[in-house]
């Protein structure tokens, strides 16, 4: 029989129990065990013992007395000493605070930008229950129509068939001329379901918040538009005139809403009820399945899920479309509201979509800069440990535990981060306008409680991250080795070297990324686009009010535009006036598609022009001839295709033939234009058909899609150099040709640049980040240089006495850094290469990265770094050795 308590229970007790308490507790338990053995069965005694061991497992038994003091006890004493030490070593402190505060400031600015991008549409209380509907028609591999804009009938369809939805909201938009006869603006007016405001959290400032759009003659306006139209007057009940088709209708302002937040995908200033749909759409369009015009949003009920809808929706669709499509061809799906802004995988609706890559890249850069700043502190603090050996030795002899030393050093680093936080926030506030101006990102710094809390958490994390390693290293020194004067610092030095390498890796990465982004942007600007957009101005024309069909819309507008064109010809500074349905720099050129009599599917972009458009943009022909302004036949029948279209069609296009199709209509190809990049360089040149009239093409077109309004624009080249005079000319002649309408004009070049806006912004941000990280890294290097030269003062003195020259000592000092810099730079190359290659895949036309970028960025970084440390090392090398050797210590 076992007369001993269970071994494992004993071991457990010995493990967790505070050694000071172990003897008495174990003794007491043994005594009880013994007594139980004598009075009862041994299993009972063992169980009692186990039970008592488990019962002993409590905090007061576990806690070691020494442990009672928490590790991070930030007593006033600690802070007092920390500030004294910081004050004593002012140079180091300033370097540290500067580095950290630059890091914090850029973290704030960029972090806020990233947060803003991530926070899109998150302000709606029921954001997780709201989805946007998409439509994807899949007929074969090439023939896919994927749209976030849906047929208007979806609203009723979803409402009728799915009880899962609490609300189905239709959001549509149209451009109308708004305002009184003598002052009309071309405005985008949203046409929304009246329940819109029940689903989305847009704030109603005045008017009935329960029912902001009571009837079809009501209009909701934003507060900034209330000021635009009515000034300081109360807008409620006032009338706004909107030209809808031929009719001018009056809408009564029923409510004013706060301007939609910047981080809202749905953004509008004027909204009317979709009870007006019968005026806006023909009956056919209202019932259509294959023509899209409005966004549809759904609000899923609290106890329902979108999955049940997704599984049932094919049956509903087939109930309507049996015989017209096969199962699986007509797909309706749902995209979460909060997914809209950063998911380029689903096509655009009305709202622009951000590029999630850029957001993540920026977030990554933020963290990098903070890391560089923290590493700075760490390397400097480890370096400084040489100076503090004696202090540590004395403290330890006086009885300091490692824990209390760690807490002392962490107090120091947190104190530094705290100061850096204050400086950093001030910096961020001061730099905010410049940052916004530089990047075009509209960031605001809101010091909300969460942000303040986050700032303090950041401070704590940075303080601990930066200070932890030095604290452990400093406090872990053996007293004897310190007092013997030994250093045992080889391991530390390796760590410090590693840190410098890492810091430089990041810096060179940022510098070379900047150069690569720049190179790509320059490349795109220097590419021969196939047309000349220099000094070309584009003026959108207004359609005649009676325009009904697309033909009226395009051809009628061009006809009416002749008046303005005639008037402008009299000015010598205005050359080559042409008209066209699309202009370079605007995405979404018209697209037509059809199936020919062999069942093959064809899709082209389409451009309607007048004969002078080619001249304006200097588009060249490779075969055949351009449109002849004198030829009536050209106007009616002739078309021109681009080289891509010729290749796409495949056979040798003979002049005079027509496009492949079952009902080619009355058209003939008269020429092939040299390829030009009518879309941004993110994509390859697509097949394009250019025509003067719609009739000759549209007879065979099955589908068309216009991302950009096909409303013709007048384009001309301005050879003068006075911007103000062209504005005067346009103002004068516009007022004569289009009295009462608003004039808009744009430089094509500006629009072209706008296509690469996010790349330009990325470039600016990466440049700023690169410069900042370089500054921070250099601050760190200065500090290190000072420390290293100081700790080697005696060595330098002796070397000089023995006969070393200034240059050889300088070389020796620089050498100790140079290798690390070079290693860091070299390691960064493959890393950068891989990352930037990924980025370049966004473009159809990519620049070759090449070795030059890396050589230049390595040279720049190393040169700047060496330059920075040169000053100090030179001074150390030139010091009088007598002074050096006199230093006691």
């Amino acid at each position: 029989m076992n007369q001993q308590p269970p071994k494992w229970a004993n071991r457990f007790l010995e493990w967790f129990c505070n050694p000071e308490l172990l003897e008495e507790i174990q003794g007491d338990l043994y005594e009880i065990f013994d007594e139980k053995l004598r009075t009862g069965p041994s299993w009972k005694a063992r169980w009692t013992y186990i039970f008592l061991v488990v019962r002993s497992f409590r905090y007061s038994v576990i806690a070691r007395k020494r442990n009672r003091k928490p590790l991070f006890i930030m007593t006033g004493k600690n802070f007092k000493i920390a500030f004294r030490i910081l004050w004593k070593d002012k140079f180091n402190t300033v370097l540290n605070i500067l580095g950290l505060s630059i890091g914090i400031a850029s973290f704030f600015l960029m972090g806020n930008y990233v947060l803003k991008e991530l926070s899109y549409d998150h302000f709606h209380t029921r954001k997780d229950k709201i989805y946007r509907v998409w439509l994807k028609e899949v007929y074969n591999e090439d023939k896919v129509f994927f749209n976030s804009v849906t047929p208007p009938r979806f609203e009723r369809l979803l409402e009728e068939h799915f009880s899962e939805f609490d609300e189905v909201i239709q959001v549509n938009r149209n451009s109308y001329l708004v305002g009184e006869a003598d002052e009309r603006y071309n405005e985008s007016v949203y046409i929304i379901s009246p329940e819109f405001f029940d689903v989305f959290d847009f704030k109603i400032l005045s008017g009935d918040p329960k029912n902001p759009l009571p009837d079809r003659n009501s209009i909701t306006i934003s507060s900034s538009y209330a000021i635009k139209y009515f000034g300081e007057d109360n807008p409620l009940g006032r009338l706004i005139e909107v030209q809808m088709g031929e009719e001018i209708r009056e809408f009564k302002v029923s409510s004013v809403m706060a301007d939609p937040p910047e981080n809202s995908s749905i953004s509008f200033d004027l909204a009317i009820s979709n009870e007006n749909n019968n005026v806006i759409f023909s009956q056919g369009a209202m019932e259509a399945w294959f023509s899209v015009s409005s966004e549809t949003y759904v609000l899923v009920g609290d106890n329902s899920s979108i999955a049940t809808v997704e599984s049932g929706i094919q049956d509903v669709v087939m109930g309507y479309l049996e015989g017209r499509v096969e199962r699986g061809q007509y797909n309706i799906g749902f995209q979460p509201l909060t997914d809209i802004h950063l998911n380029p995988g689903i096509p655009l609706g009305f709202a622009p979509v951000g590029n999630p890559d850029y957001v993540y890249i920026l977030g990554f850069i933020c963290v990098l800069i903070i890391a560089v700043a923290c590493i700075n502190y760490t390397t400097l603090a480890v370096g400084r440990s040489l100076k503090r050996y004696k202090e540590i030795g004395i403290r330890k002899i006086m009885g300091a535990h490692q824990r209390s030393l760690i807490s002392q050093y962490l107090t120091e680093s947190i104190a530094v981060t705290f100061l850096a936080l204050i400086v950093g926030v001030i910096l961020a506030v001061v730099l905010l306008p410049y940052f916004n101006q530089l990047t075009g990102a509209n960031v605001t710094l809101a010091f909300s409680p969460t942000q303040v809390l986050m700032a303090f958490i950041l401070m704590g994390v940075m303080g601990i991250a930066a200070g932890f390693y030095p604290a452990v290293i400093l406090s872990g020194q053996k007293v004897t080795s310190i007092l013997q004067g030994g250093s045992g610092r080889s391991g530390k030095n390796n760590f410090r070297r590693g840190m410098v390498v890492f810091q430089f890796l990041i810096t060179v990465f940022l510098v070379s990324s900047t150069l690569i982004v720049k190179k790509q942007l320059n490349y795109m600007q220097s590419l021969d686009l196939g047309f000349d957009h220099n000094a070309v101005i584009s003026v959108p024309l207004y359609p005649p009010p009676e325009a009904r069909s697309l033909t009226d819309f395009v051809e009628g507008t061009m006809e009416k535009g002749q008046i303005l064109k005639e008037r402008l010809t009299q000015y010598p500074d205005i050359e080559s006036i042409g008209m066209g349905s699309h202009v370079f720099g605007t995405p979404g050129w018209g697209n037509i598609s059809y199936t020919d009599d062999n069942g093959a599917y064809w899709s082209y972009n389409i451009l309607f022009v007048d004969p002078y458009y080619f001249e304006t943009f200097g588009i060249e022909m490779t075969e055949g001839v351009a449109f002849d302004p004198e030829s009536g036949l050209d106007k009616r029948q002739s078309i021109i295709i681009n080289e891509s279209a010729a290749r796409y069609i495949g056979y040798d296009i003979a002049i005079g033939e027509s496009l492949p199709g079952y009902n080619p209509g009355e058209h003939a190809i008269i020429g092939v234009a040299k390829d030009f990049n009518f879309e941004s360089l993110h994509s390859e040149i697509r097949p394009l058909v250019i025509s003067q009239s719609l009739g000759n093409i549209y007879s065979m077109v099955a589908d068309h899609d216009y991302g950009d309004s096909p409303s013709p624009k007048l384009v001309f080249r301005y050879t003068g150099n006075q911007l103000s005079s062209i504005k005067d000319i346009l103002d004068r002649e516009w007022a004569a040709a289009y009295p009462g309408e608003e004039l808009n004009f744009e430089f094509v070049e500006e629009n072209m640049n706008f296509q690469y806006e996010s790349e330009v912004r990325l470039n600016k941000l990466v440049t700023v980040a690169g410069i900042l990280s370089m500054i921070i890294a250099c601050l760190g290097l200065i500090g290190l240089a000072v420390l290293v030269t100081n700790s080697r003062t005696k060595e330098i003195g002796i070397r000089k006495i023995v006969g070393a020259s200034v240059s050889s000592i300088f070389g020796m000092l620089v050498n100790s850094f140079a290798i690390q810099l070079v290693i860091g730079a070299i390691i960064s190359i493959p890393f950068t290469y891989w990352l930037m290659n990924n980025w370049l895949e966004n473009f159809a036309y990519q620049v070759n990265i090449g070795p030059v970028v890396f050589i230049v960025s390595c040279l720049i970084s190393v040169a700047v770094a060496l330059l920075v440390i040169t000053f100090h090392t030179l001074r150390a090398a030139r010091n009088n050795p007598v002074d050096a050797l006199r230093i006691d210590g």
Binding site: E24, I25, G27, D28, Y30, F51, L52, S56, R58
Partner: protein, 112 residues
């Protein structure tokens, strides 16, 4: 009662420490409480009560002699401090004072 307030079990343990004089260690205290009251705390609760009392300065402790059934391990012996004694006196006085104020009515049937 100014300063120290102690709970029910604490009071019992404190009394036992006082009454056991020089033999007061956890197992003994537990036994005394079992014999003299209707409570039977296990030894671990006595441990934690003793630690609490020591922290409050009501008892002192020192390591005492060992015995064979403890596997040669020493006991921690507790003694009452003056403060501990004062607390007990105070409790007793309060009790007696309040008790004496119970109305005579309730004492009827019991001859005094």
């Amino acid at each position: 009662m100014k300063g120290t307030h102690i709970g029910d079990l604490e009071e019992l343990v404190l009394l036992s420490v006082g009454s056991l004089y020089r033999e007061a260690y956890a197992v003994n205290i537990m036994k005394v409480i079992k014999e003299n009251s209707r409570r039977s705390p296990d030894v671990t609760s006595v441990h934690s009560v003793l630690r609490r009392l020591e922290k409050k300065g009501l008892v002192n402790s020192e390591m005492g002699g060992s015995s064979a059934e403890r596997g040669g391990r020493r006991k921690r012996l507790f003694t009452l401090t003056t403060a501990g004694r004062a607390v007990l006196d105070d409790i007793n006085a309060t009790r007696t004072a309040l008790y004496s104020k119970l109305p005579k009515l309730t004492m009827q049937g019991i001859s005094i």
